[in-house]
């Protein structure tokens, strides 16, 4: 056998070509194996997002603590003292903090992923790496902020527990990883749909900003589900974020409404949204740079 035929044989075997570019690929293939090779990039991006946030500030990482504290202060004043909305018997700061801990995580994931193609066009247009790395790194770097919120929550819970104003956590708090996963999936799912569509149609980008705001009022962030008027309760309940926040409060603060049924429904809706998101994202990923 001479050399050329050997070479031809190697080339004709299926495994020889490790990169194959076709006009249309599978829309469900997340290329996770490829993404795994880029895991160092993933961590560096997470680190970049975190570090570049407070570079050239005097207070540095302290800013991560100041934001939630001020938010609680304002919410307690407006929704508690002015509007007098009930909190299921939980001290107000705790109630709002639990709500915004969940909400901010979801909203940040959504806001950041929805701009992922447009914001990173300059990078995506010059280098190839599995695009999914970007949204995944966003979800993770937001986890750091979530951790800080959670830390503040624990400190405040300890304080109120010591004063005897709340009962402790219960076993439902162990659902936290599930809740986080669902929130991340929801933020990522909607974000990916929006990011894919905004590569061509910028209209959606305008919508996301105030859409997230509006959605917050339709979720139980600043009021408990029990305080929602009966005719809107179903509407608020079907919002997939509501059961997540309610479960979170129920587990950590021992108040609120929790049911497996509503959590299950929320998980179902979120799964559907995620699948649509992945489809859209994968389809847009291939040629978005031509239209962005």
């Amino acid at each position: 056998m001479n050399k050329t035929t050997t070479a031809k044989n190697i080339e004709s075997s299926d495994n020889y070509w490790n990169i194959v570019v076709k006009p249309a690929g599978s829309v469900f293939n997340l290329k996770l194996r490829q993404a795994w090779h880029y895991r160092d990039l993933f961590w560096l991006l997470v680190r970049r997002d975190f570090v570049s946030f407070y570079k050239q500030t005097i207070l540095g990482p302290l800013w991560f603590f100041l934001q939630p504290l001020f938010t609680i202060l304002i919410y307690s004043y407006i929704f508690g003292s002015l509007a007098g909305i009930g909190t299921d018997g939980i001290p107000r700061p705790l109630f709002y903090l639990a709500g915004i801990t969940c909400w901010h995580y979801f909203a940040e994931c959504l806001n950041k992923t929805s701009g992922v193609f447009v914001d990173n066009a300059h990078v995506f247009g010059k280098v190839y790496f599995p695009r999914i790395i970007m949204p995944l790194s966003i979800v993770f770097s937001n986890l750091i902020k979530f951790g800080i919120y959670l830390f503040i929550l624990f400190v405040m819970m300890a304080w109120y527990y010591y004063k005897g104003e709340i009962q402790g956590m219960n076993y439902y708090a162990l659902l936290l990883p599930v809740l986080l996963l669902l929130m991340a999936m929801l933020g990522l799912g909607i974000g990916m749909i929006v990011s894919a569509l905004t590569t061509k149609y910028r209209d959606l980008a305008f919508f996301v900003g105030f859409g997230v705001q509006l959605l917050m009022w339709a979720s139980t962030v600043v009021y408990p589900l029990s305080a929602a008027p009966a005719k809107y309760k179903r509407l608020v309940g079907i919002n997939p974020m509501t059961p997540l926040i309610e479960t979170f409060r129920y587990g950590f603060l021992g108040a609120g409404s929790f049911s497996w049924a509503s959590l299950g429904l929320s998980a179902l809706i979120i799964s559907v949204i995620s699948i649509i998101g992945i489809t859209f994202f994968n389809k847009a990923e291939r040629t978005f740079i031509d239209t962005v």
Binding site: K22, P23, D40, G125
Partner: protein, 421 residues
């Protein structure tokens, strides 16, 4: 040698113009055809991509039915004029965008360098950016750690390594960025004209590094450049693209001369017509190289001729041209009677005036000749109708070793061979 890249029937359709509400209509139309199992309706109306001609359709084929393969260890130069599809081809090869039709197969890791410093974050330090940029280009962290000292050494910005890159000069920024890319360990390296940046010394260093990569380390390199001397030194094979079509492929010297020979046709080296007013008519303008065999090289004299007819004696006639560089700098304004002190009055006659641009005066680049015919301080008889343009290349000329970069807007060589012994 094994084939490492196989490109089959690659085409890429682009939509020109603004994206607006019409886009949605097109998308729905497309989706509807797909649903009925028909071909994309916009494929049919795609046109050949010739940027100089105004087309009738908003869709152009940036690449059309490209086929080639690359063997391991080849250094492939991709050449063609602006808009020929070179960058599109690189984008497809580096998986930045998907082709409209066709398939690309590759064996090994591809690293593409379409820009230096992709993903550099201004707030992060040089050190942090080396890691980030390296990772974006596909390097693993321990790989970067292993090469960190070499990268810093190559870039020559050691003193600033812990300073945010927003404080870097643009030269330092580029040096650092290229250094990261130079130490990539990919089997296939794709390089766009990133070398048009940085000072001459650094450019030389980069070209040397690229030569090492392809010749010494046996890796495959695809290189796009307008710099023919760099292409012919670095590459052994070439691909010549024109208006999205693959015109020729093979040995780099054949490809470069095919490009240079063909390149002239695309320019306007001659104009024949009949322009002017009742007193003076311009019939022909032409630009040609003294060395007819090799054409427009920097080391040959270039001649410019203007022919016409004077129907009535013209007072204060201005007859000459302005030479413009590709960056629209006015390089020279030359008149037929530059040696006289007064404006001349020419009697009725057929005339032919010839001007010479001496060899080694102009650097490599594109030039435009705008003829000026008129009455001094009174009237402009022709505008730009008779304009010509030509390009000079530096293959065997003086000063090609440390190229006077046309990319940097330099247009003059002003070099004769000063070495006597």
């Amino acid at each position: 040698m094994n084939t490492v890249i196989e490109v089959e029937n690659i085409s890429k359709l682009y939509r020109l113009g603004e994206f607006g509400t019409g886009t949605l209509g097109h998308d729905l139309h497309r989706w509807w055809s797909k649903l009925r199992g028909k071909d994309d309706p916009f494929f049919k109306i795609g046109e050949i991509n010739d940027r100089t001609v105004k087309g009738t359709s908003n869709f152009v084929w940036s690449l059309r039915d490209i086929n080639f393969e690359v063997k391991q260890g080849d250094a492939v130069g991709i050449i063609g004029r602006n808009g020929a599809g070179k960058s599109t081809l690189l984008k497809l090869l580096s998986q930045i965008t998907a082709p409209t039709t066709g398939i690309i197969k590759a064996h090994g890791r591809i690293a593409s360098l379409l820009e230096v410093g992709t993903g550099f974050h201004p707030e992060l330090t040089g050190r942090e950016n080396i890691f980030l940029n390296g990772a974006i280009l596909g390097m693993r962290k321990n790989e970067i750690i292993r090469k960190f000292d070499e990268i810093v050494d190559f870039s020559g910005v050691e003193r600033y390594i812990d300073t945010p890159v927003k404080r870097y000069s643009s030269g330092m920024y580029v040096r650092l960025a290229f250094a990261v890319a130079a130490y990539l360990e990919s089997e296939i390296l794709i390089v766009d004209e990133v070398l048009a940046v940085g000072d001459a010394e650094f450019q030389r260093k980069c070209l040397g590094k690229m030569g090492d990569v392809s010749k010494g380390e046996g890796r495959t390199v695809l290189f796009v450049s307008h710099n023919m001397s760099a292409v012919s030194t670095l590459c052994n094979t070439g691909i010549y693209l024109k208006n999205g079509n693959l015109i020729n492929k093979g040995n780099i010297n054949d490809i470069v001369s095919a490009y240079l020979g063909d390149g002239q046709n695309a320019e306007r080296l001659q104009w024949i017509g009949n322009e002017g007013n009742k007193d003076i008519r311009i019939l022909k303008t032409v630009v040609y190289a003294a060395d007819k065999l090799n054409g427009f090289h920097t080391n040959t004299d270039v001649f410019i001729e203007i022919e016409g007819e004077i129907l009535q004696p013209v007072m204060d006639l201005v007859l000459g041209f302005t030479l413009w560089s590709q960056f629209e700098y006015e390089l020279a304004y030359v008149l037929h009677d530059d040696t006289e002190e007064e404006h001349t009055t020419l009697p009725e006659q057929q005339f032919k005036k010839t001007f010479k641009i001496p060899a080694n005066t102009l650097a490599e680049g594109d030039y435009r000749i705008q003829f000026d015919v008129g009455i001094h301080n009174k009237e402009k008889i022709i505008d730009t109708e008779c304009d010509l343009s030509f390009s000079l290349v530096n293959i065997n000329g003086l000063g090609r070793k440390f190229l006077v970069g046309s990319g940097k807007g330099k247009t003059s060589l002003f070099r004769t061979n000063w070495l006597v012994k």
